[in-house]
Each structure stands twice: as structure tokens, then as C-alpha cells.
Symmetry: D2
Subunit: 352 residues, 4 copies
Amino acid sequence: MAYSVAVAGASGYAGGELLRLLAAHPECEVRTVTGHSSAGRPLIEVQPHLRSLGHLVLQETTPQVLDGHDIVFFALPHGASGELTAQLSEVRLAVDCGADHRLRSADDWETFYGGAFSEPWEYGVPELLVAGDHGHVRQREMLTGAQRIAAPGCNASTVALSLVPGIASGVIEPDDIVSVLAVGPSGAGKAAKTHLLGAELMGTANPYAVGGSHRHIPEIRQSLRAAGASGETRISFTPVLVPMSRGILATTTARLVPGTSAADVRRAWTDAYADEYFVHLLPEGVMPRTADALGANTCLIGLAVDEAAGRVVVVAAVDNLAKGTAGAAIQSANIALGLPEATGLSVNGVAP
Amino acid sequence: MAYSVAVAGASGYAGGELLRLLAAHPECEVRTVTGHSSAGRPLIEVQPHLRSLGHLVLQETTPQVLDGHDIVFFALPHGASGELTAQLSEVRLAVDCGADHRLRSADDWETFYGGAFSEPWEYGVPELLVAGDHGHVRQREMLTGAQRIAAPGCNASTVALSLVPGIASGVIEPDDIVSVLAVGPSGAGKAAKTHLLGAELMGTANPYAVGGSHRHIPEIRQSLRAAGASGETRISFTPVLVPMSRGILATTTARLVPGTSAADVRRAWTDAYADEYFVHLLPEGVMPRTADALGANTCLIGLAVDEAAGRVVVVAAVDNLAKGTAGAAIQSANIALGLPEATGLSVNGVAP
Amino acid sequence: MAYSVAVAGASGYAGGELLRLLAAHPECEVRTVTGHSSAGRPLIEVQPHLRSLGHLVLQETTPQVLDGHDIVFFALPHGASGELTAQLSEVRLAVDCGADHRLRSADDWETFYGGAFSEPWEYGVPELLVAGDHGHVRQREMLTGAQRIAAPGCNASTVALSLVPGIASGVIEPDDIVSVLAVGPSGAGKAAKTHLLGAELMGTANPYAVGGSHRHIPEIRQSLRAAGASGETRISFTPVLVPMSRGILATTTARLVPGTSAADVRRAWTDAYADEYFVHLLPEGVMPRTADALGANTCLIGLAVDEAAGRVVVVAAVDNLAKGTAGAAIQSANIALGLPEATGLSVNGVAP
Amino acid sequence: MAYSVAVAGASGYAGGELLRLLAAHPECEVRTVTGHSSAGRPLIEVQPHLRSLGHLVLQETTPQVLDGHDIVFFALPHGASGELTAQLSEVRLAVDCGADHRLRSADDWETFYGGAFSEPWEYGVPELLVAGDHGHVRQREMLTGAQRIAAPGCNASTVALSLVPGIASGVIEPDDIVSVLAVGPSGAGKAAKTHLLGAELMGTANPYAVGGSHRHIPEIRQSLRAAGASGETRISFTPVLVPMSRGILATTTARLVPGTSAADVRRAWTDAYADEYFVHLLPEGVMPRTADALGANTCLIGLAVDEAAGRVVVVAAVDNLAKGTAGAAIQSANIALGLPEATGLSVNGVAP
């Protein structure tokens, strides 16, 4: 018998991708979708690609509407999920695709978001290595049986997956990381803003949040510290909007710990991901493209050691809406519910 | 009376852009265009956007065809311009858009290109600061009256213009630079290759030459040393193909020299470019887009200091074919010939 | 127990899409993939988005390699499938995504393709109405139990699905049809050609085969005649390459039969597709986008009556590789094999 | 001495393109730019590609601000230019890029726009043939010395230029025209609307105004009647947004008048445009791309006769902001002022 599911914030891009994936999930049945200004409209008007959900009508986002489902996915603006969740008495699993429950540091929250700090939920990137008393474990372990999950920031999880093997194995320094990301505008949401118009974004590359202000920076640092980074974690982080609707290609570099060989480096990433189904280390000399992860729950990682520069270069490709957000949410939910982790998720991209 | 001009390699992208700009140049008259497999065809068949040059027919690329022009621009594959130029007795000015004459180090040439090393010509980035016995001068001075000019590599000049103010003023370290570039595929040329097909490049970001192998690396290091970089110059350099036909958005970071303030940093770049017509430092908080430089001879620079990361972040936007190649060639030729530097060149981009 | 499947021509775009869909098909197991110049290479090198098929290696395309599978899908250049199929003794079902077996008229073949004419196979567009002795039936009936299937041309099936309801019901004239299609370049294949380079296709719209020469024209006319078109079928057909890797948006108009009301028109299309799962008539005033069909086996149809112009306007969106080619092939194979028609196929697109 | 120029509505796309072209116009000096919500801001903040106009500040759009200039260009929403112009006492030439003064029929205005009808101004497409008492003349003649000019609708002028030679020469029928246009979203303006977001437009083709509702339809019909079309002019007109920021590729077909040969057809278009500088008929078998007209004041026309379909097919490429709007405005102003028609305008596109 399938779990009953509600998606709050179903009219946006993250909500739409949750629904696309849930529609193909054999253990979930989407019963309820909610919106804000779109409440009352047929879902198909707002998400015309979701033909199989043509019977659903968007409702108001209220506790009454959401309560009683086995699982509620939230794809709401910041600040909305915590209060709603507190009023849900009969929800077995809540998964938030917003930022509210990602950060463990109230100071970081204050600095980068502001407003009331919400308690952290389990972080929805199962493959991350987390330092424990007896060596590293996977974040997966914390997700098993979880009732509250914070799906990651798409850029943050991409960079964390890029670096954590090197941090956990001690082959890279955490204190002078540089990450530059080519990103598609669907990550910026569906609200009508002039600078996100098609005419403003086609045929051009547009940087934003340059110089250390992007909200995913503390989230990355948190993952690096969790992986066992000692001392300062410092990251120069620059996202660049490029003309593709979806996708993140993160180029991240870190200084090699002195004495580290290229073989040491490759071994660290190989060991970290050899048994993972959704994170793939590509062979030496091969680099990923975002097209190869489009629509998939895959993170593809290319790895190079630049000995002249004294740096490791990690290039990671994900679909920001899939593995970056909605796919991570569903993968984490599968773990929490004891389902096979890959249920309803694909490793194959839609290319070309 | 206009200078007579020949363009060798007129069927490719760099050749086409040279012609587009020369067609609007009041002191140049394009008399001759040459090609290889396209020889014998009307230019308009191969470059259908150049309506005003519809009377020209592509000829073979031979010394006989090229000799006798006041100016010859070369847009040929590597290795072709040097030998040809040696056989031209009556050419006042030769400008090479290929790589042959850019590098001063035979070792660098051997390592990154291979084959016979050609003598270096004057480097065609007039705005670069060059350390001399009595402080810095501009590369412009070396171009005045020059007879042989090497137009720069598009990525190399973009990164050099990004960093040289900080190197020359001593506010950034040259030994741990990271540069990641979003680039359009026109920089990769017009030869039919599967990985450059439209279906392979649309909707996706594709990195290449990752890990220190890109041929523009020694050219950047050469410019930094010329600007007075002391000690090692080390750069991690990663280009990423994104879905725009033209443009480079280079995000480059370098460590701040300890004790440097944000005001020191901004002053360095302000002083370097305040009097330059084609290189613009944008106001604090403003970042450039490649669209704003499309078709223009402009390099737009945004500057941020990330104190938490201890790095300066420089974002530079150019049109790889214009200021990156053909525009730089013509700007340098203007200087060499004693014409006003901006003759035939625009600072205004074609946007949106 | 799953059917054993071979895909011949697995390194191209149609082959890749067949594999992407077959990898998710619960009743098919891809055992063999073949290529031409790519033979001997791991599939994942050539189709890096197909992670779940990372164990396959491309073999030569020979009868020996292909024979013995339950199903063989061909995605080869024209002329190759017929001869190969003749040498397969133990293949239950052959499906050709090439053009060889689509046309019933040797004259049409000679005019538009040339070379040896091959026998027609069952045409793989199940939803088409076909005039019979006792009214219309669906092409689906001919596919039931079929052993040889010709998957349709992507543009041809899109236009046929657009028009057939109006032809079959007698509300539109077949003798003055106009169809203009915005198409992505993946339909033109993966061979390296200069005019298909990314720099040639981004930021521009490029028409081709203008004036009546496109090879899908006789295929469309054949479907219209099969639907019962009386008298001449004439179609002005113009495809335009636009900057999206996948997708067809076909705008097709036909003259209304005098006396036809707008309600008659809508009824014709409603009746034709009300019970179809993969072809959707959108509500009045709603038009489809290709994004909404991306990766899906869906054909979305918008319908308008322009009374001032005396024409019906049908706008149809498909993914040329999915419903246009590989999806149609698998849907038809499902029917032939007696499987539920939608097995392994989705109606939901990957948007945005 | 240069003409003093004001541009009202300088913060939008049409206004920006007017300024880009005027900045290169040797006989015009832009003294004043006005906006609405942007009034008070430096122009460079709103149009960051216009470096050479960095000294201008946007003012309010009032008669006081605009009066006293030799020329005022209007790029305002519909309905604004007429009233403003009435209050300008000292303006030698007013050119409106909005729709207010294009239509001669108050009925058409009422049907397609609504609101108060404004008097028609001279229509700014100089190359159009206009039937007169003694054969055809050019629209150019009406523009000579004009004081009030209505720049054309970009789609309308593209289709009119496509068809008028055939109408004027009597080789095509005016009563069953079909036109389908691939268009970039800059034509839809800079107002923030969800359906114009980059994520909604990249990777997809989106039709709009299907079925006879587009406002350029009466404008096209007016041009065809002016060219001498006898009887009904009927046109099925469908624009399709495609992922390029600029450009129109209009595929337009009309039925051949019985007895017309392909040579008759080609002669009609050849005769019409042989002496025109900005409208080019391409050789037989050659079709235009929008890239080849990007940024240029060019209309490139490809022509084919489809004898099987009984139709002529005309494919026209323009830059919607340049020849489609701002270029047409300046070209017409040049004529009105007695300047050489091509002053400040280029035939060369920015490609690739």
C-alpha cells in the first residue's frame, strides 16, 4: 500500500520536480498539492508537463489541508515550513526543500538569512561522510528512521559532495577552497523578476552573489566540518547563471596537503564513492557535463590533480532540481521509510 | 587614404570577426581574403553575415596573394603565420591572431604546444601594466610603431587584465590564483567536431582542459611576470563551455597580501583602468555580464573582496572574438599605425 | 522473464534514447549494443548519461551479433536495416527507427530518398486513424502481433497526429496544408557537420529543406491518405532549427471545409484523442510547449480556429527523440508483444 | 552640427537599441533619456551595455523634458506617444516605436488594441512598394521630409517585406497567406512576467497569440492592401517564442497565381529589392539565419517555389530590435531629415 503524500508549494520549480519524481514512485501516491496564489487552479494549468497528475487541484497551504498524510514535502519560501510542521500531528515524515532546517548554527542563520532560527533537521545528503568517534560514517545513517529531513541547498550539496572525500581522508586543506559554479536559472525560482527574464539570460553569463554573500556558504562549511575538517574552513564561492534551464556544474579547487600524491587523491574519492549508486567518480581524464545528469538523481564527479598549481580540481555535475533538491528529498525519504534507496529514482540523464 | 588590408584565414570565426570590424574601420580597406578549403568561393557564402563585403572572393593563402598589402591579419591554425610572414617583403604591419608569436619562453612553447618555436612579437593587449626600470608602463608603448603584433589568447588576456592591477600594485599574491571561465564555443573554432555540435552544447555546461593543461596558462603567467610578479606564478585554470555562441566570463581569485584593505584593492584597479577607454572597472557591488560586451571591444571588470575567504574576486566579461581576439588585433594595429586607438571599435555591446 | 533486446546503432542520438527508455522498461533487458566507428568502446564513453548501462560494450553491427535476441531495434543510417533483418532468423520483433520501411510507394522513395526500395513495415504511430471498410480503425490494430515495425519520422508523425482527426472527420481540406516546425538539432543526428556546430545554432533560427524537398513530406501525405483524405494531399513543409537540443513544435494549418463550425472542429479532435493516453488535446485557448513533452512519450496538441483566415491551426509539441522516435518504437513494440501499451513510458515531461 | 535627440522610454529593449544605434550615428547627439520607474537613475545602471552613454541620467517622461530637441524617439507603451507629441512645440521630427500611429483603420485599432484611436503617421518601412496612380512607388517617398513617423511592428514589417513584391507584381494570391515566426523574447519587452522567465523559455519553443489574435495582423494586411492587393487579404499568423534573445525568422507562404512560373516569382522579388541596401534577396537555394542579421539593419530574404504545394515560400530574417524596430526608426529618420539613408546603420550582422 502506497504512502499518502502531500506537496506544499507545488506550483514552483522544486514542487514541480518533486511531483514529477513522485508520480513515478511506486510507493507514493500524491493525494494533495497546495499553492499560494495558484490555490484553486488545476495543477495541470501551472505544471503543464505533469500529465499524469491532471486530476489534482491546488489547495491552500494550511495545516488542515496537509495533516493526515504519511509524508509532506515542503517547497516553500524560507520561514514557512517550521511553523506549519509544528501543527501537523499525524505526519510520519516531513521533508523540507527550503533552507529553514539546514543550518545548525544560529549565528550562521542570522548572518546569511536573518529572522527566527529553526531547529536543524537531518540533512538530506546520504552519501556525505561524517566524522564520528570510530571513524567516518555516512549521513545515510542519520537519515534512517528520521521523521524530519532538510533537503540540501543544490549548490551546497554539490560542493560538499565534491570535497568531502578529500577532507575526510586528509588530502586537501579546508582553508582555501575556491568554487565557481555554472548554474541554470530554475534554481532561482519562478517568481517574475526582471533580471531572470529570458532575454536577460540567453546568450550571456551572469554572476551573482559575488564576494562571499551566497547563502549556501555556511551550509558547505558545515558539511566540511562534519566531515572532520580541522581548523578554519574558508571558501570563495561564485555562482554564474548560464543559459540552460537546469543544471549545476561546480568547479571546486582546494590546496593539496603537502606530500600528497595524485594517487592518494584519486584513492580518496574512489574509496568514498565506489559503493554509492547516485554519486559517480568518473575515470581519470573524464569530466562530467550537466546534460548527463539532467532529470537524474546523479552527481557525476571528475577529478584532476594540478601539480603545477598545487591544487586538486573537482568538477561536479548535478541537476539542481533533481539530485540538487527534489531527488535528494525523495532519496532521503526512501531511507527514512526503510524503502530501497533508489526507489523511484533514476541514474540516467536525459541527453542530449 | 585607407590602408590596404588582407585577412588570411577569413573563413573561420576569428577571420569573420576581423572582417566585421574592418568593414566598419574608416582607415582600412579589405582588399584580399584567403581561405584553405574555402578558397575560390565567394566570401558571402562562408560568412553570410558580412553583406558589405559581398564583392570579395576567397583566395588561396599564399605569400604571393598576401604580399603588397599594408596590413595582413592572420587567423590561421598554429604554425602557419611565421613562415608566411617571412616571405612577405612589402607588408608594413603583420598581426597574428594565432598563438605562434605570443610566448617568449621556448620551454613553455614546447610544453604546451610543441613543434618549432617562433620569435615573440609585441603582445596585443595595450592596457596591461608592464614593470620597467622606472615603474610600470603600458604594453601600449611597445605597440607604438610595431611591425609585428601577436594578438592575445582570448582567455589569457581576460585573466591578465583581471589580475595585473593587483600584481603591479602588490596587493595580491601571484602564487595561488584560481580562474574558472564560462566560455562560448566560438572560441573553439569552426572545424566540425562531434563534441562541439549544437546538440552536445545546448542546455549543458561542459568543462575541458581541466587540471592545468590549457594552452593559455603560460601566456597568463607571462603577463603576470611582466607586470612584476615576484616569486612563483601559479594558476589553476578551468574553462567551461556554456550555451552562448560568444563570450567569456572569467571568475578569477587571488589571495590578498596580508594587511591589504578592501580600499587598497579597489584603488589598485581604479588607478589601473581609470584612463582606459576599453577596460572598465564597474562600481562596487556591480558585476558584468558577457551580453554587455557582445560585439564590443570592451572588457568589463567587477571586483569584490571576500574577507572571510581572504581573497579578491575579479569577474571579467569580454567577447572572445572581439576584445578577446579581433578587436584586440585592430586596437593594437591602430596604435602601431599611429591612428586614434579606438578607430573603428565600439565600447557598446549588443544586448539583450 | 524479460525480453532480450539488442540496439543496433547505439552510439547515436536515437540509439541513446532507445537505451534510456529501455533501461527503465520492466520487460526488456538490453543485452547487446552495436556501433560502427565506436565498436569496441564501452557504451558509457559514448553515451555518458546512461549510467545504468555502464556494463555494456559496443560491438560491431553484424547479423551474428544481433541474431538470437527477442527484439532488435535499429537506429542506423538509411538502407542498413533491411539487409540486416533479412539475415536474422531468430528475432521475434524488429523495429526500425530509420526511414527504410516507412513508405509504401516506391515512387515516393525514389523521389525523396533514392536507392533500393524496401518493403513497408507496420507504421509505428498507434493513435493514427486509418480509414477502413467499416469506418476508421486505429493504426494500433495493425501493430498488434506485428513482427516488423517502422518507427515514424519525428516530424512526419507530429504533423500526421496534428491533422488526421480533421481529415478523418472531413472538417479540413487536405489539399492546401502548411506546416512550419521549430525543431532541435538532435533530430539531425550526431555526425560532425559544420552547420550543426553549437556556435552556428545558438542564438539563431536556421531554416532548411525549404520549398518541398524534406523527406518527411511523402510520409505525411501517406498518413493523410490512409486516414481517408480524398483528392490531392498537398503540404508546404518548412522545418526551422532553433536553439534547443530536443523538441518539435509543429504549427500546421489547413483550410476549413466550408460550413464547418468551430465546435465541429473541436469535436473532431476531441473524439479522436479522448481515449488516448499519449496524445493530449489541450483545452481551448491553451497551447503546448516542447518543454512539457521533454523526455516523455507525449504529443500535446493545441487547437484553434481562425475564422478570419478560414483555417484551423494545430500546434503540436513532441520530443523528437522520444514520442518522435524511440518512444514511438517502444510503444509500438509493447503493442506488438501484447504488453500494456504504456509499459516503460511516461507522459510527464522534464520541465523547466 | 549634430541633431539633438531625446529618447523617451530609454530603459526598455527598444529604447536601449535606439540608443545603441544613435550612439554610433554621426549626425545625432543623444542629449536626453527618459524613463518611468527608472527615472533618476544613471542610464548605465539600466543599460549596462551602453558604455559610451555613461554620462546620461534618466529623467521623467514629460513634455517639458522632451521639448526643444530636434528629434524625439518614443519607445513607450501603447497610448503614450500621441498625447505627449501634441504638447511638443519645437520638435522637428517625432518617431514612435509604439503601435499608436501605425494603423489607418479605426476599426482595426478598436478590434486589436482598443482605446482611443490616434491619427496614423508615415509608416517607417522605406522599402515597401505602395500602389499609386502611376504604378508603384516606395514608402520611402512618403517618408521624405516627414515630421511624424510610425516605426513598424517588428513581425509586421518582416512579413510585409516578405510578401509585398509578390503582391505588387501579381504573382501571389493575398487571400490565403500563412506565416509562422520563430521569435526571440526581447520583442515581448522587459516587464517581469512569469511566462517570459529564462527557465520558461530556454530549451523550449512556446507559441502564443495562436488563431488570429496577434496585433500585427491588421498592420500586415494594411501593407498588403497598400501594395495593391485586390480582394480579401487573409493571413494565418502564428508567432513562436524560441530560445534566442533577439531575432525573427518568418516563414511565410502564399498561393501562386495560376500560370505563374518559378522564374516569374524570382523576378518579382529580384526587381523589388535589387537596388535596396538593407533588404537582400538571397540566391536560389540559400536561406537566411537570424544570426546573420543580428544587430544589423538588414532584412535577409530566401525564396522558394514549392510547385507541388502550389505555394511560394518566403523566409525572412531580421533582428527584431534593429531592422524590426530601432533600425527602421533611424533609417526612416535619416530619410525624413535628408541624410544618407544608411547613416549610422550597418548591413553586417554579429555572427556567430
